[in-house]
């Protein structure tokens, strides 16, 4: 019983981490049609900002709060300078963002060297329920993920900013005709997606520690999750991330890890082939 509970918690917390990482990726892919290969590096930057704060003696949570703003600002600048040129050509966008990611990743590698740098958990210790101990920080990640998910959903579905954002992305020319500044909306959307990646990086760095290939590890999983969930809505990628995250964490409990690893990808690709619109199709939030 206790073991099953621990397993369920592990699966849930890994699922939450994948959801957190895919949120930003999904918003950029769904709303802008760009598969951002630099997203993993935005996650890395978020982690790096947190590490910097810690290394300079600031409280860790200050770094975690700053990370989304720093990475979001960088995303806004990059959108205006570079990403903007790629909107008509999804493949070129992939290559361009890949180049951007390469630059960011190698710069961070140059700054931190080939090391694994640890950042302690701002909320340490464990939560004890009877004989079961679960990590307090992983539990915090689950809670924050739920809050961020709800926040994003409300922002997109209930606010006028969200409405303008969805309008711009669904029909840019009509949105322009209605007086919405579409370049600004594109910039804001990309910055928002980057900021979410920065937050994800800041929250996961105590779990995975900081190293240059931190973001790369999640990138392909993230893409697969977005496609499984379905491009074109906010809910789709989140659902896909839940499925992929849960599967990747759950399958190794019942079979050899290497088989589980590959099986998740094979299942996902087969699923997408026969259901290209993904789990949740259609234009919603």
């Amino acid at each position: 019983m206790a073991n099953a509970f621990v397993a369920a918690f592990e699966i849930l917390s890994f699922g939450a981490i994948i959801v957190l990482i895919v949120l930003g990726l999904g918003i950029i892919a769904s709303m802008m049609g760009i598969f951002n290969f630099a997203q993993g590096e935005f996650v890395l930057l978020g982690a790096y900002v947190t590490y910097l704060a810690y290394a300079n003696g600031l409280p860790i949570w200050a770094g975690m709060v700053a990370a989304p703003f720093v990475v979001g600002a960088l995303g806004f600048v990059l959108e205006a300078l570079i990403i903007r040129r790629f909107y008509a050509a999804p493949i070129v966008a992939m290559l361009g963002t890949y180049a951007l990611g390469l630059i960011i990743r190698e710069s961070v590698r140059g700054l931190i060297g080939g090391f694994y740098l640890t950042v302690p958990e701002p909320i340490g210790g464990s939560i004890d329920i009877g004989s079961i101990h679960i990590s307090a920080w992983r539990f915090t990640i689950i809670v924050v993920t739920l809050l961020v998910m709800a926040g994003c959903y409300l922002l997109l579905s209930r606010t006028s900013f969200g409405l303008r954002m969805r309008a711009t992305l669904e029909n840019p020319s009509l949105a322009r005709a209605s007086g919405i500044s579409t370049p600004l909306m594109y910039g804001a959307t990309f910055a928002f997606g980057s900021a979410l990646a920065g937050l994800a990086g800041a929250l996961i760095v105590p779990v995975f520690s900081l190293y240059a290939d931190l973001g790369l590890r999640f990138l392909i999983q993230g893409f697969v999750a977005v496609m499984v969930g379905g491009v074109g809505s906010f809910i789709g990628p989140v659902a896909g991330a839940g499925v992929i995250g849960t599967l990747s964490a759950a399958l190794p409990w019942v079979m050899a890890p290497v088989v589980a690893d590959v099986l998740v990808f094979v299942l996902a690709i087969v699923f997408i082939k026969f259901r290209p619109q993904g789990l949740i199709a259609g234009k919603g939030v």
């Binding site: 598969f35 570079i82 040129r85 008509a88 050509a89 999804p90 493949i91 070129v92 992939m94 290559l95 361009g96 890949y98 180049a99 951007l100 990611g101 390469l102 630059i103 190698e106 710069s107 590698r109 140059g110 790369l216 392909i220 893409f223 697969v224 496609m227 491009v231 050899a256 890890p257 290497v258 690893d261 590959v262 990808f265 094979v266 996902a268 690709i269 997408i272 082939k273 290209p276």
Partner: protein, 371 residues
């Protein structure tokens, strides 16, 4: 399924004609561009000749260790050729080309390790077949089907395939896990063993030249014309009655076979295979070569591989840390400002498209390949 050549050519010309009209409106700049196109009409054979001569004399002037390095570059150029066929000519973004390269490498490594087969006439065809088979399976699955697959799905599908293969190779004890398969016996022909050096170099160069000529024949044939049409306007080619998906699957498979040939040569030249060889790192590396050199020209892929590897080799002694950053910056600049690659500095666009069959040579201006 072959249509009269003139029909398809007409379609492409019409398509490009629109582009040309638009360009004319831009005035002086366009005229200059036209001049350059005219002047650059017969550049391609010259470029190819220069590269060939340089490659032929390289081992005579290079030191031994550099010949070994040059051999590796030639093999990678062969690999780049396979990607150029798939992306430059059919517009299929294969982010997983290393899957065919690496699986062939692993295949021949296993042949050599477990069955003691190193005869060149057995291992190279075997490697090619492995690449071909994997490409047929993956390409058939991703590209064929009732509904045409989106470009995003194909590119991410190949990427995922390559990543999954990498993970599998890392975790599978039979394939050597993280360490791969070390000390592969050299390739042999009768009693002769091909070890690193000039003999291996000229063998690889000969293979590259043969494959290059075959590819060149292929892309200038009726089949290549259909591919060019496919790249320019897939829907229109489909309306002509071509099975666009079949054409794509065929070229993808051929690309896989060439990658497999390159992979088996690489395995024997390096003497070991390791998981990175099937993974995302090598997959993206080959994309870099072709984008730098210029996609859709064949020779551009070769030049790209030589330049990227050469500069990387040259800089890696002193600037090991900053080189990947410079590479990223250069790549970004090429994508933004020189989408046709370095070759477009000397090669006009008319020549890039080339001429097909007999008759008036008017393939005209061609737009950037951006599906």
């Amino acid at each position: 399924m072959l249509k009269p050549m003139s029909v398809v050519r007409e379609a492409i010309v019409t398509d490009m004609g629109d582009e040309a009209d638009g360009a004319m409106a831009e005035g002086a700049a366009a005229e200059q561009a036209t001049d350059r196109v005219k002047a650059g009409r017969k550049i391609l054979p010259i470029v190819e000749g220069v590269v060939l001569v340089a490659a032929l004399i390289a081992p005579l002037v290079l030191q031994d260790y550099l010949t070994v390095f040059a051999t590796r570059v030639i093999i990678l150029a062969l690999f780049a050729l396979s990607f150029d066929l798939v992306w430059g000519y059919a517009g299929i973004m294969s982010f997983g080309q290393a899957l065919f390269f690496g699986s062939a490498g692993y295949g021949v490594a296993l042949l050599a390790r477990d069955l003691d087969v190193t005869n060149i006439f057995l291992v190279l065809p075997a490697g090619t077949l492995i690449g071909l088979a994997f490409a047929l399976l993956l390409g058939g699955f991703l590209l064929l089907g009732r509904h045409p697959s989106s470009v995003i799905f194909v590119s991410l599908g190949t990427l995922t395939g390559s990543y999954a293969a990498d993970r599998l190779a890392r975790g599978w004890y039979y394939l050597g896990g993280q360490n791969g398969i070390p000390s592969i016996a050299p390739m042999s022909l009768g009693g002769y063993e091909f070890t690193e050096g000039p003999a291996f170099y000229y063998l690889v160069l000969g293979i590259l030249v043969v494959v290059y000529l075959l590819c060149r024949f292929l892309v200038r044939s009726q089949f290549g014309l259909a591919l060019a049409g496919l790249r320019e306007n897939e829907q229109r080619i489909a309306f002509f009655g071509y099975k666009a998906q079949h054409l794509k699957a065929i070229i993808f498979t051929i690309g896989g076979a060439v990658a497999g040939l390159a992979g088996s040569l690489y395995a024997f030249h390096e003497g070991f295979v390791w998981p990175n060889m099937v993974g995302v790192v090598v997959s993206t590396q080959v994309v870099l070569y072709v984008l730098f050199g210029g996609s859709g020209t064949l020779i551009g892929a070769v030049i790209g591989a030589v330049i990227v590897e050469g500069v990387s080799f040259w800089l890696s002694d002193n600037y090991r840390d900053v080189w990947p950053i410079i590479l990223g910056l250069l790549l970004l600049l090429v994508i933004l400002f020189r989408p046709l690659g370095l070759i477009s500095f000397v090669l006009g666009e008319r020549e890039r498209v080339g001429s097909f069959g007999a008759g008036p040579d008017r393939t005209g201006k061609e737009k950037r390949n951006a599906p």
